[in-house]
């Protein structure tokens, strides 16, 4: 301590020194007391504040990629204290999504019903959450943005370049948020069809003589791989299980082929086994099969095939490829988005087969808006509650022309969600996105010219429009057709 001795007349020095000493002591005591008082008040205040504060969010977990790909995703909200029970009424999700909640210790699990939308900011709010030990309640809020989705489309180009050769067909990839038609991921002189997988693209290309070749491109780069086929012939019904790296297709031998003649014989090929050979899918007793249609169960290694006799089978390609018969039905209509419910159609009625437990539910679809005034076309089921989208062809003033439109029927309520920009345009096909959020509609312009491909012929100038089913708006379209959602 470097306190200067204070100069004072000799007589008063002891007294004033004592006084200044007392003042200093008092000052120190005051400083100390004030410090303690301030700290004590802070402790008391903070303790009270803590007692009156409800639980807070410590961390949150959600598998975002799965949330737009698979049904019933879960969000785990971990609080800083063990939580009391939470009822479904306390949970609100924006945009409105059905959700239930359960609590184990500090973890609150929010289970969404169905699949979440792409590119959407979700806000989950849980009100009146209290801990098991205190009465104070609080609101837990968590926001997350679901990922974007890739969109692929096939552009056929019939035009001829300066050298007189046909311009190549291309498969382009973009995203919902992206602009334009995106980048070329595959091109070949003639592309019949393709399927996009997580890491690969498989495409059927046609030679000058219409002989089909099946090529696999890896998005990671590297050489294209040609899947061996028995002989020259036709490849159809290309299907894929994107997350399992499997493709399936049927092969029919060309007329000039020698040896065994294949007739729409199903094959499955594992893209992760580059040197592997495609495996023929055989029917009961290992006999060759001829199939009318085939498709993978979403996110699985199981294949559904419809034999020439209209009998459907479920075959798990991973195990012993045992056939599970699913009955005889007229038509396979894909799966209800986000579920494993296969939609089948018969002349008198439609039904869904839940492949998880084999339960068959007859569809009792309410009549749509236009059933009386228009010719009904393709029907796509949107959810297990029986909402559906259907294509209609309506007569117009011009006797040679039918107008296309697509209507969605929800609980007996129908509304038109899509009509082509001009009456003369036609809808070729449409399908629903895997999460049930969008319809992808392929339209053919009036001036479209057929390209004359032997399988899946198309027209020039086709576009694919994405219709948001919730808002009914079609804000995005890409050139080309056969979006991967329809694969």
């Amino acid at each position: 301590m470097n306190r200067e001795p204070i100069a004072h007349p000799a007589a008063t020095a002891p007294a004033s020194a004592a006084r200044s000493d007392r003042t200093a002591r008092r000052r120190f005591r005051r400083l100390f007391s004030v410090t303690i008082a301030v700290l004590g008040l802070l402790v008391a205040g903070l303790a009270a504040a803590n007692f009156n504060q409800g639980p807070r969010l410590a961390s949150a977990e959600i598998n975002l990629d799965a949330s737009v790909a698979r049904g019933d995703p879960r969000l785990l909200l971990t609080a800083n204290q063990p939580l009391a029970e939470v009822t479904a009424g306390q949970v609100t999700v924006s945009p409105a999504t059905e959700a239930s909640a359960s609590v184990t210790d500090r973890v609150l699990t929010v289970q969404f019903a169905g699949i979440l939308r792409y590119n959407t900011l979700y806000t989950v709010t849980v009100t009146d959450v209290s801990s098991t030990t205190q009465n104070a309640t609080s609101t837990l809020e968590y926001e997350f943005t679901t990922p974007d989705s890739d969109i692929y489309a096939l552009q056929r180009d019939s035009r001829v370049d300066d050298a007189g050769a046909k311009r190549p067909d291309t498969v382009r990839r973009t995203t919902l948020q992206g602009r334009g038609d995106g980048d070329i991921v595959f091109s070949a002189p003639r592309i019949q069809q393709y399927v996009a997988l997580d890491d690969h693209l498989a495409a059927v290309t046609l030679a000058e003589d219409d002989t089909a070749t099946l090529e696999v491109v890896s998005f990671a780069g590297g050489e294209n791989v040609q899947v061996p086929v028995p002989s020259a012939g036709v490849i159809e019904n290309l299907a894929s299980s994107p997350s399992k790296h499997l493709i399936a297709y049927t092969f029919t031998s060309g007329s000039g082929a020698v040896g065994r003649q294949y007739d729409r014989t199903p094959f499955v090929y594992d893209l992760t086994e580059y040197s592997g050979l495609p495996a023929e899918v055989t029917g009961v007793d290992g006999l060759p099969m001829t199939v009318m249609d085939l498709g993978f169960v979403p996110d699985s290694t199981s294949l559904v095939v419809q034999s020439a006799g209209q009998t459907m089978f479920l075959i798990d390609m991973l195990g012993d490829a045992v056939l599970t018969p699913l009955g005889e039905h007229d038509e396979m209509r894909g799966f209800v988005p986000g579920t494993r419910a296969l939609v089948v159609a018969d002349p008198d009625q439609g039904s869904t087969i839940d492949l998880a437990d084999g339960a068959v539910t007859t569809l009792d679809l309410g009549p749509g808006l236009l059933n009386d005034s228009a010719y009904p076309g393709k029907l796509v089921l949107l959810n297990e509650q029986g909402s559906y989208a259907q294509l209609f062809l309506q007569e117009t003033a011009d006797i040679n022309q039918l107008a296309s439109l697509i209507a969605v029927t929800v609980a007996g309520d129908s509304s038109v969600v899509f009509t082509p920009a001009s009456d003369s345009s036609r809808v070729r096909d449409f399908c629903v996105s895997p999460n049930g959020q969008y319809l992808a509609v392929e339209t053919i312009p009036a001036a479209g010219l057929s390209d004359g491909y032997p399988t899946l012929p198309a027209f020039s100038g086709m576009t694919t429009t994405l219709v948001d089913l919730d808002s009914g708006t079609s804000s995005r379209s890409v050139s080309g057709f056969l979006p991967d959602w329809c694969g």
Binding site: R27, F28, T35, L42, V43, A47, N50, Q81, T132
Partner: protein, 346 residues
């Protein structure tokens, strides 16, 4: 104590040392080490069936704390030996800034260069007072050094990582509290009154007398002293950590640990009792990390190194009882404020 008396005492001690036959201690030590190795080698190999699962886990958890902490204790002691024996005297003190506040800030960071554990720095702080630092300044060093210390920072980081924020809060808390105390006691009119009457003796003796004994001997000497001060507390602390984890029911721990207020007070009380060395207390409290709120962990990690039973016993050699009560009060309140604030905000 007069200078000549000290001399005579040293003179009295030295003949005793000299009388020891050289190598006798070495033989005794090697024999003990050999016995311990033999014991380990011939201990039963099969799992002791007599122990219940809970007892086995108690032992496993306690051993885990010891095995994890020992190398860091040794590292701390090695660094402390290097600093105390091999660095020139007054090497750092001469370069302190003149401004009192800046001096205290630098002194509170001195622990980074003088990485002695809390038990080791009491003698060091006494030495600092003897070399002319004010009492307030030496308190700043005394309370900051155990936390602002490379080994403590490394072990806290290893135990809790960067992301949890616990390390940052611990460093900030230690720094602020030490400087606050330094400031308050720099205002004390009679700093000498804070010190025990006997301090003059302890201070005057210092560690200087055996400088001539050779640095190796002094290092070995410091090693025995520091291990004797730190290891018993470490072993008790490890046993206590294992005991609490196995004997106290999960419900009690969860209920206590998830309450923002009681968790802070409980872990501060625990810190006061266990007296585990700041170098490795992060490993001790790690077992509570999953059940106790972060504010409580920080309060433990800030309060423990500054005030606990062992520190009070050591500090009692230097400071009066009244001063220690004041210090305990300030540190405890500051730690509680920090812990409660963290629990409220984070």
């Amino acid at each position: 104590m007069p200078q000549d008396m000290q001399m005579s005492q040293n003179a009295a001690a030295r003949p005793f040392t000299a009388r020891r036959r050289p190598g006798r201690g070495l033989i005794v030590g090697l024999v003990i080490i050999g016995l311990v190795i033999l014991l380990r080698a011939f201990a039963p190999e099969t799992p002791a069936g007599t122990l219940t699962d809970t007892a086995r886990d108690f032992v496993t958890l306690s051993i885990s704390v010891v095995i994890e902490s020992l190398p860091f204790v040794f590292l701390g002691i090695l660094l402390s030996i290097v600093v105390q024996t091999w660095l020139p005297e007054g090497f750092l003190l001469r370069r302190l800034p003149k401004n009192p506040a800046a001096r205290r800030v630098v002194l509170s960071l001195l622990g980074m260069l003088l990485p002695v554990c809390e038990c080791g720095n009491v003698p060091l702080a006494r030495g600092l007072i003897a070399k002319g630092l004010t009492v307030g300044e030496s308190m700043t060093f005394l309370f900051a050094a155990p936390i602002l210390n490379p080994v403590t920072i490394i072990t806290t980081q290893q135990a809790f990582g960067w992301d949890s924020g616990i390390l940052v809060w611990r460093i900030a808390g230690g720094f602020l509290i030490a400087n606050l105390i330094g400031y308050i006691y720099s205002r004390h009119p009679k700093p000498e009154a804070l010190l025990t009457p006997r301090f003059q003796d302890a201070c005057a003796l210092g560690d200087r007398h055996d400088a001539a004994d050779g640095k190796i001997k002094r290092s070995a000497d410091l090693f025995t002293k520091e291990t004797s001060a730190m290891l018993p507390a470490l072993f008790i602390g490890a046993g206590l950590a294992g005991l609490i984890q196995t004997a106290v029911s999960r419900e009690v721990l969860v209920t206590l640990g998830s309450n923002p207020v009681w968790s802070v007070l409980a872990l501060m009380a625990l810190a006061f009792v266990v007296s585990i060395c700041s170098n490795v207390d992060a490993f001790f409290i790690l077992s509570f990390g999953a059940t106790f709120m972060p504010g409580a962990i920080v309060a433990f990690l800030v309060f423990g190194p500054m005030i606990d039973i062992k520190m009070l016993a050591l500090l009692r050699t230097t400071f009066t009882a009244k001063t220690l009560v004041q210090l305990t009060l300030i540190v405890a309140l500051c730690s509680a404020v920090l812990g409660l604030a963290i629990n409220y905000v984070v």
